[in-house]
Symmetry: C2
Subunit: 427 residues, 2 copies
Amino acid sequence: MEEKVVKIGVIGCGTVGFNFIKSFTRKKREIEKKTGVKFIIKRVYDRDEKKIKPFPEISGNSVKEIIEDPEIDIVVELIGGIHPAYEFIVKSIKNGKSVITANKALLSEKGKEIFNLAVKNKVYVGYEASVAGAIPVIKTLKESFVGNKIIKMLGILNGTTNFILSQMFKYGINFSDALKKAQKLGYAEADPTLDIAGMDTAHKLSILSTLAFNKPVSWKDIYVEGIDKIESTDIKYAYDFGYRIKLLAIAKISSNFLELRVHPALLPSNHLLSSVEGVYNGIFIEGDMIGNSLLYGEGAGGKAAASSVISDVVEIGKKILQKEYISPPFYENKKLTIKNMDKISIRYYFRFTALDKPGVLAKISKILGKNNISISSVIQKQENPQKAVPIVMLTHKAEEKNVKKAIKEIDNLDVIKKPTIIIRVEE
Amino acid sequence: MEEKVVKIGVIGCGTVGFNFIKSFTRKKREIEKKTGVKFIIKRVYDRDEKKIKPFPEISGNSVKEIIEDPEIDIVVELIGGIHPAYEFIVKSIKNGKSVITANKALLSEKGKEIFNLAVKNKVYVGYEASVAGAIPVIKTLKESFVGNKIIKMLGILNGTTNFILSQMFKYGINFSDALKKAQKLGYAEADPTLDIAGMDTAHKLSILSTLAFNKPVSWKDIYVEGIDKIESTDIKYAYDFGYRIKLLAIAKISSNFLELRVHPALLPSNHLLSSVEGVYNGIFIEGDMIGNSLLYGEGAGGKAAASSVISDVVEIGKKILQKEYISPPFYENKKLTIKNMDKISIRYYFRFTALDKPGVLAKISKILGKNNISISSVIQKQENPQKAVPIVMLTHKAEEKNVKKAIKEIDNLDVIKKPTIIIRVEE
């Protein structure tokens, strides 16, 4: 029997594409020895002709040829964005090709459709590189923890925002200076909105949640708040209370409700995720059999993502050599309902900016009490009676709806001089 | 076509076996929906008849029937120890059955033989549960990091010893009290030698190293030292220097040499592994593409290990339904040589017990200097001139051979009153 060679086409030769082709080509012999599968990268495309120049031995530069070449088994899509990546992937699948993608925005928007289309066409979709770079969280959720009911996931899934918050913590600098530093070092894009506003994290959380809870989740199902309102003063107060501030992706199950949110949160300093600094990512997963677990690693960067692409290539390559197609139709947990944000019940951090007058704390506390919010700790420093001063507070568990109502009322008091800062707490 | 059902036989119904059968049976429908594979646990055996009583619907209690039943596809071996587990596994493989095992001692001793026998008989061996309980380190090394050259692994792989060291750190208690507490809580066996002496960790490191470096490693290739000589005073001094003391499994590659050792080590307090407390396990892995990564979770316990067994059952079940057998013959990196312990070059912690006389430090330093060992920090407290006092020291990098020679000479000085405590440092 002639030995089958798995043939690959790569669409997009940016940082990840370049690193994938370079490393995979260089390590091909060893990977083949380790896995028993033979591979070749047959075609490559980038809209920028220069990008494919380092690989003259690979045929370029036509998307059409990659998608229509009957010899190509796997299409690796690394261009990002919804269009035309979506069209490329759909056509590839319809032409009987398996697909590997790092495209979190696309999967968050069209994941269910793409997965179902793949099953219909008996091909595979690999997307390890779409979440948390080198960290094998997709495989772990899908395969290693397959016997578990996942109860909770907490993730630091965006290196840019984690770098910014780490810098603000370490050097006491403000948000915009930390952002500038991140941009200078190449950790933030010129337009950093997608990262800063939490949207990139929401894309990733939707992919993880779909997998963990067997419930199709889009980023639209997730409550999202960015880090741009976090001040270094809040980071300091949080630290005094024994917490760090991190941009967290949070997914939790209680009875048949699924809580999904992305926002800055106070996390206990001794929580393992609090040690995830700079551009690193970390995902904490709680399951009914595994208990608590954590995966940590490089969340971005060409090499890290390329490592995950190689892992998908090998896995799908092996599957392609099989005669039987085994991939279950997308299984959906119909019982699970996404919880309304107003109904969540957690602890809160408030920073009021109030005139330093007698009775101010009494007024605030009264409104909180009326709304079923009880105070756990307060920091109020005697400062300048002429000026507004911060009153910082941690609450016991309270309902989000009540918090919104109470803070609205408090912010209308004439002793309150600025909108109150509200940060949720995650234990 | 009639749908194939993957049939399983379980040998050993202790904590892991019980939890595996219980959870897998209870979750079978959902796992089948998620994976597209149908399973049944057909037979179970335990030498203690009582242990299989909770599962009257499963046929028991004969090993012979499990190994010889032509319908059984997968034999799950959970009895531990070398014999008769070895014979059961070999016979099962020869009868064309895939095997799943949590038996680290056996794999460390006979791994290469078992893996090769499996390839010869075209069956699979799953062993995720053999190292670090619920942590998916086997799958991660084998599949997720397949594109990486692994450069370094540091592991806390034994919950018993990590619990003891955590207790000594937290409460300042001595080794034997911490051990008693561990035994009382069921975290240490009545005879805890295998754990305390580092042998269990060495078994696990040999399995990880074989996988990470494509080099058959037995526990006999590993330098092993236990934690029984660690005193709480060393834990305190280490902390003052900015370090924690952990029992580490260490594997490192430099040029074509592989360093393999298990011993208590000073690890910087801000290293992520230093936050692995109690019975938890953690594995730090450095690769040429992934950079630094960490996997953390429950290292022991019936449910955690059973979670890994389920993961193996599903994976091997899928492979059994495939028509093609793809598992490469064991690939061996012949270039790699195991480094002689005398040749390693690292930093050291010394605690001398010396008379508090003028010139003592000079004598010690002179011998160290003569042996190319330079001092990085010293703590010497003025105490009782009548009594022996501790002199605690961190060195710069030095060769193990020179350290042994120097300490031998120092311990012969008449001002030295007790054998010097030597603990290696890992950065």
